[in-house]
């Protein structure tokens, strides 16, 4: 049980798809012009990730090893098409602003990566938790990037006005160059934070040893 929780939490920080392993970068950069777009994209991806991990884990004994990658792609593409049509029906505005990046969830390396590295070997419930952890990690990453870009680029978060009246939006942050620069600066900040944390841990261990 403990191990399962550990696998679940791994995706949230230690093996965070965006900030640590740096996979699934295309949607991370492309759709995070506003918090709601990043959040919507990540939820759609999480849905596909969890569903395909479960199905692949169920079918792991049936799928022959030689054609496993095409088989995984078919499973993933089926769920992506489902999400595409659901979003078109219920959230047409979001569907419009995410555009081609919804069908492109198929080639998001996070999903195929989890299928190959985890779901194809582990029991169903474990795979579901692992996928959910990765999906939630992706969700907070994309929502954070989207919020920062929206806050500084247009002065709102999730459409709510937050900045005071005198604030001049830094329009470049909602344009393509802003995506690269925001993520670059965030990664650098993350590096600072995690090196501080590991220094603290080291100091504590030394004190304990003395």
């Amino acid at each position: 049980m403990n191990k399962m929780i550990k696998d679940f939490l791994r995706g949230l920080w230690d093996e965070h798809p965006t900030f640590r392993i740096m996979i699934g970068m295309c949607p991370t950069l492309a759709v995070t012009t506003a918090a709601i777009n990043g959040f919507g994209m990540a939820v759609a991806t999480t849905f596909v990730l969890v569903c395909s991990s479960i199905l692949i884990s169920v079918l792991k004994k049936v799928i022959p090893g030689g054609v496993r990658i095409p088989a995984y792609i078919i499973v993933i593409a089926t769920f992506v098409t489902t999400v595409d049509y659901i979003m078109q029906a219920f959230t047409p505005d979001l569907h419009e602003s995410l555009g081609v990046f919804i069908p492109l969830i198929v080639v998001n390396c996070i999903i195929l990566g989890r299928a190959e590295a985890y779901a194809s070997k582990m029991p169903v419930v474990w795979s579901a938790f692992d996928a959910l952890g990765m999906g939630l990690g992706f969700t907070w990453g994309l929502t954070l990037i989207g919020s920062i870009r929206e806050l500084l680029g247009s002065g709102t978060v999730f459409g709510f006005s937050i900045m005071p009246d005198g604030f001049t939006p830094i329009a470049i942050l909602t344009s393509p160059p802003g995506a690269f620069i925001t993520l670059g600066v965030l990664l650098a900040l993350m590096n600072v934070v995690s090196s501080k944390i590991s220094e603290k841990i080291k100091a504590k261990q030394q004190r304990a040893a003395n």
């Binding site: 095409p70 492109l104 690269f180």
Partner: protein
């Protein structure tokens, strides 16, 4: 003239990597050396032109006549995967020299979202066969251009004195941001 405008528009104004964010994974992952990025760029361009052709044929001769448009994503990704496999087998048998140079990049191309994005965009914009091929070739050239540019800069960055937290991916992303800023100067050119 129309084709030339489409080509320039795809390569520079709407550069796949720097403006549309397609194919970021290889752009960050395989861009540490100019020589490897040239190989990757050529292999990707080749697959892109083939994918543009194959997806156009599938869309207009299979999916539309049979009313199966909802299978678009599924059929395109499978065709791209098969295509990459075929190219790999063909090169392995016929041009071993080129295979040794490009071989390691080929499997990566299947999950390059620039290839699938190109196929989907071409259908969305209702391009005819000629336009699709030009669009595919332009996308490949634009991808190669961006990859070589960032690889050249990253080779120089190896010798630069970069603050420790910015080392690696962080500085690469900020560099890409500046490149993207330069490319946004072309917006409105066409």
């Amino acid at each position: 003239m129309e084709y030339l405008l489409l080509f320039i528009g795809t390569v520079i104004v709407n550069n796949f990597v720097l403006v549309q964010f397609l194919g970021i994974c290889p752009f960050i992952g395989v861009s540490k050396q100019v020589s490897t990025s040239i190989g990757m760029g050529i292999a990707t361009t080749f697959v892109m032109v083939m994918a543009a052709l194959a997806s156009w044929l599938i869309q207009h001769f299979i999916l539309v006549p049979l009313g199966l448009e909802y299978l678009q994503t599924l059929s395109f990704i499978l065709v791209i995967a098969a295509l990459v496999q075929l190219v790999e087998m063909f090169l392995h048998k016929s041009i071993p020299g080129l295979y040794r140079a490009m071989g390691i990049f080929l499997p990566l191309i299947t999950t390059n979202c620039a290839v699938l994005g190109l196929a989907l965009n071409a259908v969305l914009r209702d391009y005819n066969l000629g336009e699709s091929l030009v669009y595919g070739f332009g996308a490949g050239v634009g991808f190669t251009l961006a990859l070589i540019m960032i690889a050249g800069i990253r080779e120089e960055l190896e010798f630069a004195d970069i603050p420790k937290p910015l080392k690696g991916a962080a500085i690469a992303l900020i560099t890409a941001g500046l490149l993207s800023l330069a490319f946004s100067g072309f917006a409105g050119m066409i």
